[in-house]
């Protein structure tokens, strides 16, 4: 036992020795190591990389190897940031290493901070292929999302592997899309089926949504299908955005069939109907569809030549027979009057070319009336117009209207410049309006309505400044146009037209109204013309007479003027101022007043003033005329009027001269002529003598005798009333023999007595008898004195 123990001790001793002899572990403290390595690095004897925790050094080679290992572990793709974590080495170092690896190794590439191996690339290529097989198509965009890799890298990968690992095709239009043949075939079949099934136009968008086909693919497929004529139809519209439409051939065929049959049957096309068929651009469609047909394009219809021909034929017939025609019954019932109107204008264009001499009128936009027809219609009016014209002239309404318009013009002249031009313009417009109507057609009507409207407005606007114009016009017959005399009202025209047998049909009220409107101006014009002619003819005589009265008046005035002068001379024979004055007053009151009245009434007539012609002109009436008379006449007339109230013949004469002068009465006053004075005197005397012989009134006889004697004595004429007889006698006394004078004086006394005695019968009859007895003696004195004087 102890031996064993000792052996054991021995063994332990040996162990101990061994333990002592075994080499010791060379151990360096961390601090030393760091120092050593920094030293080595300083000396560039060592190239190592620090780990991020600072506890380890890695040589670049090791790092590269580790990176590769990690790459392998991670299946060929690893993010550099991940490497930083795994290897706990600075990112810069890793990036540098990775770049080096990429450079050195063909199979590795650095993409978007990730190191990617060829094996990985192959693997994703296979995956893509699988995906492609599953889905039929892949886009780079999808792959980018799926693999989180940049699209150009993936694009490159896919393109590289296309045909090798990835069995598919690249879309020609979009290089980012890949698909398999089977996918394309499937889609093509789908589309072909859908398109073949389509009976009506279908928008590509709905087609796509139903088939589940990509839009891009659709267009390429449909292009191919179209090329190979596998699809019955066409695609219209833009190729992008799904706004295009697929129109099946069967649809367009049926559409065309319908359009053709409809057009053949009816000769026109309704745009609404085309719209219902899905034809949007109908005009273009019509042009395309009937390139050889001459279609008239109306706002809502396209009209074929058949209908136009029909209308044309009808119109021509109407022209030939000189009647009217309504084209409305010839047209399909859908047509609106305005369409018909357009057709008519078109037709009329043609017919105008064929028979340019014919003047056509369109009424109610569908009726065609030949000029002849209208002429025929206007025939019954001739008599009416004539009658009316006469009526109007005889009633004085024409004159009134004429005068009014004249007055208006005068007013306008007097007023401002502006109203003046307004008047002119109004005239012009009236002319235009009537002129336009002569041309006929709807146009004329247009201008008419417009002009009346304007006139109406104008009247309102100017109502303020010419209100009295309104009042004067109110007295006239017409109320619409103030200056124009309405010969025939529209209602009257309508009435007459309605009696015409060609217009007896129903529903022609409108036509009649339009014709009436059309005829109204021309009829009125002709009516006015007729009235004018009637007036002229009546006026011709009256004008002649007027001219005559003018000259008569002139002569009369002349004579009176001369007389007044002569009388004035006679008055001057009296020495007594008082008597002279009285005589002058008398002269002014009688002869001069007559002259003045003549002048004023002439002026009034000339200017068509209204005044009572039957009565003598009183000073008031004179004044009124004066106010109404034109400006240039006013002053002389006023003077004339005033001169009557003065007591100077001279002044009066001057005024008369002025009043009769040019611009006022336009009369010529003859110069006082000595030679003419004599016959005048003789004439006067002769007239007095004649009067004397025929008169039986003693007072008058005495008066005349006195006048005659005075004239014989003084060789001047005297104008005096009976009151002046005694004065005249006293004046004559020295020149007469006492016998004669006594006879006269006695007679004069008797006359006075007769006048002063009342109804005392005896004395009166006595005196009368005495006067009668004395009368021949007096007459004798008058006549004989003439002889006496003539012998002298």
């Amino acid at each position: 036992m102890t031996a064993v123990e000792w052996d054991e001790v021995k063994r332990l001793a040996a162990d101990f020795q061994r333990a002592q002899l075994s080499s010791t572990v060379q151990r360096l403290s961390e601090r030393n190591c760091v120092e050593i390595i920094t030293k080595l690095l300083d000396l560039k004897l060592l190239d190592v990389v620090f780990t991020t925790d600072g506890k380890e050094y890695v040589t670049p080679q090791q790092l590269t190897r580790e990176i590769r290992d990690e790459l392998y572990v991670h299946g060929g793709r690893i993010n550099l940031v991940e490497l930083v974590k795994l290897l706990s080495v600075d990112l810069n170092q890793i990036a540098a290493r990775a770049a080096e690896i990429e450079r050195a190794d063909q199979n590795c590439s650095l993409v978007l901070g990730q190191l990617i191996d060829k094996t990985y690339v192959n693997r994703i290529a296979e995956e893509i292929n699988e995906r492609l097989l599953q889905q039929g198509q892949v886009t780079i965009g999808d792959l980018t999302r799926h693999y989180d890799l940049p699209s150009d890298f993936l694009q490159m990968v896919v393109e590289k592997q296309l045909g090798k690992i990835i069995h598919g095709k690249q879309d020609k239009t979009d290089p980012q899309v890949f698909f398999t043949e089977s996918y394309v075939a499937r889609n093509r079949a789908c589309i072909r089926g859908a398109l073949a099934a389509a009976l009506r136009p279908i928008s590509v968008a709905t087609l796509l949504s139903q088939c589940g086909v990509e839009e891009r693919l659709f267009y390429s497929i449909i292009g191919k299908l179209m090329e190979t004529k596998q699809v019955p139809g066409v695609i219209t519209g833009k190729q992008q955005g799904g706004s295009s439409m697929y129109i099946p051939a069967i649809y367009s065929k049926s559409q065309n069939d319908w359009v053709n049959s409809f057009y053949k049957q009816n000769g026109y096309l309704e745009y609404d109907a085309l719209m219902r068929l899905g034809i949007v651009d109908h005009q273009l469609f019509v042009h395309k569809h009937f390139p050889n047909e001459k279609l008239l394009l109306l706002p809502s219809f396209a009209v074929g030549p058949q209908i136009i021909d029909q209308v044309e034929a009808a119109v021509e017939e109407a022209i030939a027979t000189g009647s009217m025609v309504d084209i409305m019954p010839l047209l399909p019932s859908l047509f609106e009057p305005q369409d018909a109107g357009e057709i008519l204008t078109e037709v009329l264009k043609n017919t105008k070319i064929k028979s340019p001499s014919q003047n056509m009128h369109i009424f109610c936009s569908t009726m065609v009336l030949t000029e002849q027809f209208i002429q025929k219609l206007t025939k019954p009016f001739d008599a009416i117009i004539q009658k009316k014209a006469e009526e109007v002239v005889s009633s004085g309404a024409y004159l009134l209207a004429q005068a009014e318009s004249k007055l208006q013009n005068n007013r306008n002249l007097i007023e401002q410049y502006e109203p003046n031009t307004k008047g002119d313009r109004r005239e012009e417009r009236r002319k235009k309006a009537t002129g336009g109507k002569g041309g006929g057609g709807t146009q004329g009507r247009e201008t008419r309505t417009k002009s009346t409207k304007k006139k109406y407005l104008r009247g309102k606007a100017t109502a303020g400044d010419d209100s009295d114009e309104e009042t004067t016009s109110a007295t006239g017959k017409t109320s619409g146009s103030s200056h124009k005399l309405e010969m025939l009202s529209i209602a009257e025209i309508k009435e007459v037209l309605a009696e015409d047998e060609t217009l007896q049909e129903e529903d022609l009220g409108e036509l009649i109204a339009e014709i009436a409107n059309h005829l109204y101006p021309s009829l009125n014009k002709s009516g006015l013309a007729a009235a004018e002619t009637v007036f002229e003819s009546t006026m011709a005589s009256s004008a002649q007479s007027r001219r005559k009265t003018h000259s008569d008046l002139q002569d009369k005035l002349n004579a009176m003027f001369v007389n007044v002068r002569l009388f004035e001379k006679g008055i001057k024979q009296f020495a007594d101022k008082d008597i002279q004055q009285q005589l002058v007053k008398y002269l002014l009151k009688t002869l001069c007043t007559e002259i003045t009245n003549d002048v004023f009434s002439y002026i009034a007539q000339e200017n068509m003033f209204q005044y009572d012609q039957t009565k003598e002109l009183s000073p008031e009436i004179r004044l009124k005329i004066l106010n109404d008379s034109p400006n240039e006449c006013k002053e002389p007339l006023l003077k004339l009027h005033k001169s009557l109230n003065t007591s100077s013949i001279e002044e009066f004469l001057n005024c008369v001269e002025a009043a009769l002068g040019p611009g006022v009465c336009d009369m010529i006053l003859r110069k006082p002529d000595k030679k003419k004075e004599r016959p005048q005197l003789l004439g006067h005397r002769q007239a007095l003598l004649e009067q004397l012989t025929s008169s039986e009134d003693p007072a008058l006889v005495l008066h005349l005798t006195a006048l005659i004697l005075f004239q014989a004595m003084t060789q001047t004429m005297l104008h005096a009333s009976g009151r002046f007889v005694s004065n005249i006698l006293t004046y004559l006394q020295p020149h007469l023999t006492a016998e004669v004078f006594n006879t006269l004086q006695r007679y004069h006394d008797l006359v006075l007595k007769l006048l002063t005695t009342g109804s005392d019968d005896d004395s009166r009859s006595q005196i009368v008898n005495a006067l009668k007895e004395g009368m021949p003696a007096i007459k004798e004195i008058a006549t004989s004195f003439k002889k006496h004087s003539s012998t002298e």
């Binding site: 036992m1 123990e5 054991e8 332990l12 001793a13 162990d15 101990f16 333990a19 010791t24 572990v25």
Partner: protein, 167 residues
Amino acid sequence: MVDEATKKSLTCIPVLKTKAGPRDKDLWVQRLKEEYQALIQYVQNNKGADNDWFRLESNKEGTRWFGKCWYIHNLLKYEFDIEFDIPVTYPATAPEIALPELDGKTAKMYRGGKICLTDHFKPLWARNVPKFGIAHAMALGLGPWLAVEIPDMIEKGVISYKEKTEG
């Protein structure tokens, strides 16, 4: 007290169990075995800590021990011979380790080169009978002594570096 490092190395040395001296025939064997095990452990510990500082071997009975110890100062290795006997009263009495080369060169030494241990050593040892053995004596006694005395002696020029190939 002993310093931290010493204490740490001390704790790493397995404690002995058998209380026997060279006179106790069988038990001594037992004790010797434990001594060896402790030493092996201690040496291994030292080597492991790169702190190998001595070589020891014993006679057959394990009563006399001899060997070498060394101390590195200023990158120079100073080497000295060790020898000591196991006292009869062992393990109640600690062995007296001697470095004969240094006899008379330092005050901390008894005649014959026996090192003069610190005041702490003896009571510590007495408290730990029979747990302490040769390994403990080396670690607690000689280690600290060398660490204190050798640099002092080198400074005084008492000892000088001798070229040695061994180590």
